[in-house]
């Protein structure tokens, strides 16, 4: 029972920290896409009639970047809220560890009193925390899935922009460059999300 609590709470905290770090990476990249999309809109305007399709896609990509940023802010808030729960778990695990050490050293009345305290802890607080963490994990999984679908949509937009760039006349080369940058950046986001999903899967399997 002890090792379960001790390892689980420590692992949960490390997991939250890791998720937060991945989220920060994605938020930074999403901000980059937003700027790139704005530049692409200006470029398409300069290219005029020959880049109408590209212009529409650039607007969509900018909307995509804003949606992604919002999604990541919500994900960040969800993980930040979970830090309080996980910190409480770590604290509880530490207390249980000290109680178990006291139990080993005690006998008679002392041991009975410790057993009573441990039963109380296991019966109430810790199981409640586990339920909270499980709910939190389900929520995080759902949010990661939603984000992944959004990023898939972003990938499709970037590929379409690349095709539209070919019809950009004199601006074709510049538009191709911009759409390749979109594709590369969305690829980076996909990589971060995949790593986050794999991490979640591995942690749940453990």
């Amino acid at each position: 029972m002890m090792s379960f609590e001790g390892q689980d709470s420590g692992r949960e905290l490390r997991r939250i920290v890791r998720i937060n770090e991945e989220i920060k990476t994605v938020v930074k990249t999403a901000y980059r896409i937003n700027l790139m999309a704005m530049n692409a809109i200006f470029l398409a305007k300069r290219a005029g009639q020959s880049a109408l399709g590209f212009g529409v896609l650039s607007n969509e990509l900018r909307r995509f970047a804003t949606d992604l940023e919002q999604q990541m802010i919500a994900l960040g808030q969800a993980t930040a809220g979970s830090v309080a729960i996980v910190t409480a778990m770590v604290k509880e695990a530490r207390a249980v560890k000290v109680l178990e050490r006291a139990r080993t050293e005690s006998s008679g009345l002392g041991r009975d009193v410790i057993d009573e305290a441990l039963r109380r802890r296991h019966g109430t607080t810790f199981s409640e925390r586990l339920e909270q963490v499980a709910a939190l994990n389900r929520n995080l999984d759902m949010m990661i899935e939603t984000t992944a679908s959004l990023v898939e949509m972003g990938g499709v937009l970037a590929r379409s922009a690349k095709i539209e760039a070919a019809y950009g006349g004199g601006f074709s080369q510049s538009l191709k460059q911009v759409s390749s940058d979109f594709e590369g950046t969305i690829g980076e986001i996909r990589k971060s999300l995949d790593s986050l999903k794999r991490f979640q899967l591995r942690e749940f399997a453990a």
Partner: protein
């Protein structure tokens, strides 16, 4: 497990000293804890850090039901004094912690709620344990800026926190001071560095000289008794403190 010994007994009024943990890791300072029992009520003085809780608890519970400890007294705010507070609350969530008002919003970082803490005003207060009245005696700046000792006028015992403390080497760690001159060498550097104010030291010496003390019980090291109590107060009065020597 630490050793627990009765150092004073008068019917249902007892003082226990909980000392020396042979399994204590050497990176932790050794501490003494004291339990004052009056009938079914008890107060634990400087309950110690959470790392030493198992050793203190196991020794204490051989003599007294830990669920009956209704109060703890924290001489000051240090972690080796009171960081185990939340562990003691496992057995009595209504436990009260008597501590200088200066620290009553700092110590809750170790556990407890608003209701747990009872502020001791700067000039001290009485604390009732069972039907015994103990006196919180000001010892500010020795070493903490909000610091109290606890005097039991019936038992004639003064719990003196860090005053009187000695860092004893292995082999010289008896519960009581046996040879004052030999013992005090282990207290000198500690007092010079940890005690920050000459004036506070002089005030304290004057104050406690007026008390009838048979035992002076520090939080580290050995207990002074009989003539060694006066010997210690005189020694401390003449010691230059608050200096850093290279």
């Amino acid at each position: 497990m630490k050793t627990i010994r009765v150092i004073h007994e008068d019917g249902a009024h007892k003082w226990y000293a909980i000392v020396r943990d042979p399994n204590r890791p050497d990176y932790l300072i050794d501490t003494n804890e004291y339990l004052v029992v009056s009938g079914d009520d008890a107060i634990l003085l400087d309950p110690g850090g959470s790392e030493v809780f198992p050793a203190v608890f196991s020794a204490l519970s051989t003599q007294f039901d830990p669920r009956k400890i209704s109060k703890v007294f924290a001489s000051h705010q240090d972690p080796d004094i009171i960081s185990s507070l939340s562990m003691w609350m496992e057995f009595n969530k209504d436990i009260k912690c008597h501590v200088s008002w200066l620290w009553s919003s700092f110590v809750p970082h170790f556990g407890g709620t608003r209701e747990t803490f009872i502020d001791i005003p700067d000039n001290g207060t009485d604390i009732l344990v069972g039907n015994h009245r103990l006196q919180a005696i000001p010892a500010h700046y020795l070493h903490s800026s909000g610091n109290f000792h606890l005097y039991d006028p019936k038992a004639k015992i003064l719990f003196s926190g860090d005053v009187g403390a000695a860092l004893l080497p292995p082999g010289e760690d008896a519960m009581f001071v046996e040879n004052f001159d030999r013992h005090i060498r282990h207290a000198e550097a500690f007092h010079r560095r940890w005690m920050g104010s000459e004036r506070a030291k002089r005030d304290w010496c004057t104050r406690v000289s007026q008390l009838d003390i048979e035992m002076l019980c520090p939080q580290h090291g050995a207990i002074y008794r009989g003539d060694d109590v006066k010997r210690f107060i005189d020694w401390f009065a003449h010691l230059e403190v608050g200096i850093l020597r290279s």
